[in-house]
């Protein structure tokens, strides 16, 4: 509780009493009354200061001439001022009281402020909950690449294997972004003069890397390993979506921790024979559901994905 430094507690309490009993006739310093209101005082002091166009401290210190001198504040006047300020009806008022600071409806709008605050807090939490997680921030991210490489064309229509470019995905933690050299294997002959491939040829001749925009990325403290997923029967499509239908690669799945854990807890929903890992069109055998067939694979290969923290965070 904030208190006035000079206020004698006994005095304060006496005046406090006066204020409520409304018996004292001598002028009192309304600031003391304000001060005993504790935490509310700074706020009303601020309002007073604004209304009287005086410095905040002059009001709080009781040195503001507006209240103390010009009004020659009496208890009654003080009651009017402060009563109005805090919405207490003035019992002595002979004529209709013109509120100085707060209207009679102050209660109402104060209440509205409180309710509004609570509502907006709920709204921001809800907003964060919806807009914050990767499901919203990540999914749909489709940056423009320096060279308009189309997976739809290469992996889809031409039917190239994912592994032709993304070598290492079966043995290493990372699915390598292919070096320029891999592109040039074909594009030295095919579309060798296409202006769209200028940057590619430049990278090839200067040995500078291509500056691809990265789409999928796990945070630094997540140590994801491609090889173990691919080799144990999680298809590319499970995490990357139907890349073979994407002219521009889109971040299709959230890659959030909850999403990862869903599959780690129920791998049968996504398992397929490891040989079909790169097949976007793969379906479970006739007459078997994904869950049913996945369960079979899970038991056969003893799939037990880690659910403890160190499985991914080290």
């Amino acid at each position: 509780m904030w208190r006035h430094a000079n206020a004698d507690p006994r005095e304060v309490s006496k005046k406090h009493q006066n204020y409520f009993l409304d018996t004292a006739q001598e002028p009192i310093n309304i600031h003391n009354n304000l001060l005993v209101m504790g935490g509310l005082v700074p706020a009303s002091g601020l309002l007073c200061a604004i209304v009287h166009e005086r410095g905040l401290f002059s009001c709080l210190a009781g040195s503001c001439e507006v209240c103390v001198q010009s009004n020659a504040v009496t208890a009654a006047a003080s009651n009017r001022v402060c009563g109005a300020a805090f919405g207490i009806p003035d019992r002595e008022a002979k004529e209709p009281f013109v509120p100085l600071i707060f209207s009679k409806g102050a209660d109402l709008w104060l209440g509205r402020v409180v309710v509004g605050g609570v509502l907006s807090a709920i709204a921001s939490i809800a907003g964060l909950y919806y807009y914050g997680p990767p499901e919203y921030t990540r999914v749909g991210y489709a940056p423009t690449q320096p060279v308009p490489f189309s997976h739809e064309q290469h992996a889809g229509r031409l039917g190239m294997s994912c592994l032709y470019c993304h070598t290492g995905v079966e043995e290493t933690p990372v699915a390598k972004i292919p070096p320029t050299q891999v592109c040039m294997n074909c594009h030295q002959l095919i579309k060798a003069d296409s202006p769209k491939l200028d940057l590619l040829r430049k990278s090839w001749s200067t040995n500078e890397p291509m500056k691809w925009q990265r789409v999928h990325k796990t945070p630094d403290y997540v140590l994801f390993n491609h090889s173990v997923h691919v080799q144990r029967g999680v298809g590319c499509v499970s995490c990357h979506g139907k890349v073979n239908e994407m002219p521009v690669v889109v971040h299709d799945k959230p890659l959030s921790m909850g999403w990862c854990l869903n599959c780690h807890r129920h791998p049968e929903d996504h398992l397929r024979p490891p040989s079909e890992a790169t097949n976007f069109a793969w379906q479970p055998p006739e007459g078997r559901s994904q869950q049913d067939y996945g369960q079979f694979l899970k038991e056969h290969a003893r799939i037990a994905p880690p659910e403890h923290c160190a499985g991914c965070h080290r």
Binding site: T137, Y141, P143, G168, E170, E171, T172, P173, V174, K176, I177, P178, P179, T180, Q181, S203, W204, T206, N207, E208, P209, M210, K211, W212, Q213, R214, K217, D220, Y221, L223, N225, S227, V228, Q231, R232, G233, P273, P274, S275, L297, H300, A301, R302, A304, P306, E307, H308, C309, A310, G311, H313, R314
Partner: protein, 1032 residues
């Protein structure tokens, strides 16, 4: 102030037309060379050169790594991250998978075979070379920490000419001209001072140098050398050679002031053999017995079954008495024995009835052929010769002891001769290759002063240090991980030194400098090594190519070791030396103390002074980090009324040094020891001004043991950062000890203490259903406390250093610490070491108190710490009975250690080069996060993933026992740490846990730790007096 204003004006006049100049320090004000050097360090020229020049694979790799890292910093919500693949990928680098290269670390006259892990072109971790017999995959703290030296941001970054930054082009212009003139005069006035590194390629160059410049002289200097060892061997044997010891075949070992398990050459290999002879599994297994005679507690003394405190200068008397007893009546030693009987070495009568002579001699003789006597580097050649004579007389040759030929190296003169030549004005140009003689030369030579008399000094060094300060040219040297080269291991086999990375700061190797000096046909170090390889392998054409590839792949050439000699004992020569030898000096007293100079267990001879890992590593015996101190016995300390932390003044023949004192039980009375390598004045940010310079007292006449030291109190105190101030276990059986007899009884009895009690379990853990259940056993009977595990862990797990202040507050970050306890009396204590890391309790007290679930249990029994959840309440640390959790009180990775308390005002950011050292598989932790040993979970997961990838669609996912080796176990030269699956009864760890010696640390708390210990065994000689200790 007046001067400062004047200087300010001067500078303003010169450089600032605006008239107002601000400066940040008086150095900048004066624009001193030191300041220019500082600026130069901040704005490395080499980086610019690197960007301008052609970019080859390794440079590209590390630039790429840096740009990826920087790309991640921009933006907040969705940083646009660029993925930069290679344009044309190199063949052997697979992103995401580490590659390993075999190379060698040259050090103190030998080279150590190592295997280096490299991530996308960045060397990150050093292991021993598993294919070389010197290492067999193990290493020591120096090899482990040397990777940090590579990335030291304080390394010299450019050529300096008279202290002013210059560049290689300018130096080359100078050198071409200068050395052409020198060649014209056959090298008159030219000298080279080098470290003692036996390298075939360098010898090739030296042979050429001899032809091209016959007048040029070559000097070598190593502050810590094996001179006494070789001189002793030359005295004892014909032909002389390098003695090598095989501890695995020795039942009785006597160490004469020799730390053969620690700081002597080949400490690692000897330790491996020693621990192999301590494998006690059944009631019939036997164990070696170690007697140690020494002045200061060493790692060897700590392992001894019987230890004898004896001032180092008195060891010769003891050896004489013992040799007289052992050699008497033997055909080889009779002449020596009779010479000893007449000499004044052991005539004091003190040894007449000593059990240390009678019983030890009897024990040695009873185990003839299986005993071993090893003399230490400190001891004079005669002690070595007598030890050799005893080994011969006991029939140990070719069993526990062998002699390897040491082919004559090209002749080199000593530092003393160099200084004499300088004083006589014979030397105009001095080329100093490595080393740091201005700091570590014997005090009476005043080498730094002599250097000033040389017209041109050229200095090649990793750091611009004391020696560079006075040099005309300072040239940045390439680190061994950046160099091509070759060197010989302890057995003489040739090791390959191959670069893992292009020189970070444009350094050159000694080979490249010398090749330019003598205008050799090639200046490429790789070519030189290959030429030398052709020479020493004797191969040609296709065979040569195959052998060369194998040489680089394996890291050494098999069959290149020096031959084993058939030594012939020169009894007459030893007898003559005995007769000529002066009497043993009188035992030291309070008026005339003995001072022993020790090689430091953490910074070696000072070469690792700027290595933060090693500076913060506590000395294995004193547990002192960030300092050295003069070690006194309690009795000596009482005599001088000195306690630990008092600054005392040491006066040796008029040379004075003020040093902090440290009182340590077990030190010989009135013998004090001081380790070398501290008190560097021109080192980097880590090593400058740390500790006290012992070289200032060291002279050519008494480089190891000096007599006549005077000690006086100064009344001042110096804060010492000891990581363990208490000496006893306070009644708890933290370390358990048994005698061999007791352990045999235990092995035959059926009683077993249940290490994992099953009484009420207050703490629950998730069901331990994982396929594997990880556990560890640490054999205290093998562990000598050498610290290799601590540094291996630091290097593997990205553990920061915290600085001396923080260590004093007990905030060191080592995930595995080595506790040291004394037992027995303060005068005759026994010592035990115990490595303690997180013991991975099944019922972990830390887990129940974490309010945010940041420390949880895995189904494989790991106590997992989740950094991203931790909010730093430190409840877990308080609730851990083992005190193994470590808290990041500050952002040790991002802030300079001297500015930790400045908060956001401190400089921020880790040096680019230090980032390159980090293990990419382990998170770098920030402020406010708890951390601890993870059993190297990154290695566990790597192995599990490997097994699963291998298994594919089949269900065979089990990890084979021995696949997973945590960093500590991999480095351990004693092989004391074994890790594995305790759910598999056939695994090594399960079998060790089934041994009767197995116990859980603080098992009575029912924490059910996964790491258990095997009790230490002692094998006392029943005829010896119990060394200050009551035995059950």
């Amino acid at each position: 102030m007046k001067d400062a204003n004047k200087a300010k004006r001067t500078i303003a006049d010169q450089s600032a037309p605006t008239g107002v100049t601000y400066w940040r320090s008086l150095d900048e004000l004066g624009d001193t060379p030191a300041f220019r050097e500082w600026v130069n360090e901040r704005f490395p020229r080499s980086m610019r050169e690197l960007l301008d020049g052609a970019i080859d694979r390794r440079q590209f790799l590390y630039l790429m790594a840096a740009s990826l890292g920087l790309a991640g910093l921009s933006g907040c919500r969705r940083p646009e991250i660029e993925a930069l693949p290679y344009s044309k990928p190199p063949e052997e680098v697979i992103p995401g998978l580490p590659t390993f290269y075999a190379t060698a670390m040259p050090r103190n006259g030998l080279a150590v075979p190592v295997l280096v892990e490299s991530h996308e072109g960045r060397p990150t971790k050093i292991e021993g070379n598993p294919r070389h017999p010197d290492s067999e995959g193990t290493s020591d703290c120096f090899a482990q920490a040397s990777v940090l030296d590579l990335y030291d941001p304080d390394r010299s970054r450019s050529v300096l000419h008279n202290g002013v930054p210059s560049n290689w082009a300018e130096y080359d212009t100078f050198a071409t001209d200068h050395f052409a003139k020198a060649r014209a005069s056959r090298g008159r006035g030219l000298s080279i001072l080098a470290e003692d590194i036996p390298s075939p390629a360098l010898n090739l160059l030296r042979a050429h140098l001899k032809l091209a410049m016959s007048e040029a002289r070559w000097f070598t200097y190593e502050p810590i050398s094996g001179t006494n060892v070789l001189a002793g061997s030359a005295l004892a044997f014909d032909p002389p050679g390098r003695p090598r010891y095989f501890l695995d075949r020795a039942a009785i070992v006597l160490a004469l002031d020799s730390d053969f398990l620690g700081l002597e050459d080949e400490g690692g290999r000897q330790l491996r053999g020693f621990s192999a002879a301590r494998q006690v599994k059944s009631a019939t297994d036997s164990m070696n017995r170690l007697y140690a005679v020494e002045s200061r507690y060493s790692l060897t003394g700590g392992m001894a079954d019987h230890r004898f405190r004896l001032a180092s200068s008195q060891v010769i008397a003891y050896v004489a008495a013992l040799a007289k007893r052992v050699l008497a009546g033997t055909p080889e030693g009779e002449t020596i024995a009779s010479a000893l009987a007449q000499s004044r070495l052991a005539s004091t009568g003190r040894w007449q009835d000593s059990p240390w002579v009678n019983e030890v001699a009897a024990d040695l003789k009873a185990n003839a052929g299986g005993s071993l006597i090893i003399a230490g580097r400190h001891q004079p050649p005669l002690v070595h010769a007598l030890a050799h004579a005893m080994n011969v007389a006991l029939g140990n040759v070719d069993k526990t002891f062998e002699l390897r030929e040491v082919p004559p190296e090209p002749s080199s003169a000593s530092l003393v001769e160099l200084v004499r030549a300088i004083e006589q004005g014979q030397i105009e140009t001095l080329l100093i290759l490595g080393g740091n003689p201005a700091y570590n030369a014997p005090a009476e030579l005043d080498f730094a002063g002599s250097l000033k008399q040389v017209k041109t000094t050229i200095r090649l060094g990793l750091h611009a240090d004391e020696t560079s300060s006075g040099a005309t040219w300072h040239l940045p040297a390439a680190h061994y991980l950046e160099s091509w080269g070759d060197a010989r291991a302890s057995d003489g086999s040739v090791l390959a030194i191959q670069p893992l990375i292009e020189p970070l700061f444009g350094g050159r190797t000694a080979l490249e400098i010398v090749a330019r000096l003598s205008a050799f046909e090639t200046t490429s170090a790789r070519e030189l090594v290959r030429l030398a390889f052709r020479q020493h392998s004797g191969l040609k054409d296709a065979e040569l190519d195959v052998a060369w590839q194998k040489f680089l792949h394996e890291g050494w050439r098999e069959g290149s070791a020096y031959p084993v000699l058939k030594p012939r004992l020169q009894a007459d020569k030893i007898a003559a030396a005995v007769a000529k030898s002066p009497p043993t000096p009188v035992p030291p007293t309070a008026e005339s103390l003995e001072l022993v100079f020790e090689r430091d267990a953490t910074v070696d001879d000072g070469r690792f002074a700027n290595n933060g890992w090693l500076q913060e590593l506590p000395d294995p015996i004193t547990k002192l980090a960030w300092d050295n101190a003069v070690v006194l016995s309690p009795k000596t300390a009482d005599a001088f009324h000195v306690s630990t932390g008092d600054v005392v003044s040491l006066d040796l023949a008029g040379r004075t040094v003020e040093v902090a004192a440290l009182v340590l039980p077990g030190q010989a009375d009135f013998s004090v020891s001081l380790s070398l390598g501290y008190g560097r004045t021109v080192a980097g940010r880590v090593g400058r001004g740390v500790g006290f310079n012992a070289y200032a007292l060291r002279t050519t006449a008494a480089p190891d043991i000096a007599i006549g030291l005077k000690l006086a109190r100064t009344g001042r105190r110096h804060p010492l950062a000891c990581t363990q101030d208490h000496f006893t276990m306070q009644g708890r059986d933290l370390v358990r000890e048994l005698t061999l007899e007791e352990s045999r009884r235990l092995a035959t009895s059926t009683e077993r203490e249940d290490a994992t009690k099953t009484s009420t379990d207050l703490i629950t853990h998730p069901p331990l259903t994982g396929e594997h259940q990880w556990g560890m056993v640490i054999d205290l009977n093998k562990c000598v406390g050498c610290n290799a595990c601590t540094i291996a862990c630091q290097s593997e797990n990205n553990i920061p250093i915290v600085g001396k202040d923080e260590v004093i507050r007990g905030r060191e970050m080592h995930w595995i610490r080595i506790d040291r306890y004394f037992s027995g009396t303060a005068d005759e204590p026994e010592l035990v070491h115990q490595p303690v890391a997180c013991v991975q309790c099944e019922s972990a007290p830390c887990e129940v108190v974490c309010p945010v679930n940041a420390t949880v249990h895995s189904d494989e029994g790991l106590n997992v710490q989740v950094y991203s959840r931790c909010i730093g309440t430190r409840y877990c640390l308080n609730n851990c009975p083992y005190k193994v959790r470590r808290f990041n009180f500050f952002n040790y990775n991002e802030r300079p250690l001297d500015q930790l308390r400045l908060g956001p005002l401190a400089e921020k950011g880790m040096a680019e080069t230090l980032k390159m050292q980090k293990n990419p598989d382990v998170t770098v932790r920030i402020r406010g996060v708890m951390e601890k040993c993870t059993y190297c979970v990154q290695r566990i997961e790597r192995a599990k993933i490997g097994a699963k990838v291998e298994a594919g669609a089949s269900g065979n996912t089990a990890v084979v026992d021995g696949t997973i080796v945590p960093a500590c176990a991999q480095a351990c030269p004693a092989r004391a740490i074994v890790f594995g699956d305790i759910s598999d009864p056939e695994s090594r760890v399960s079998k060790l846990k089934a041994e009767p010696r197995d116990y859980a640390l603080l098992g009575e708390l029912n924490t059910r730790p996964r790491t258990t210990y095997l009790a230490r065994l002692r094998n006392p000689n029943p005829n010896m007096p119990a060394a200050g200790r009551e035995r059950a």
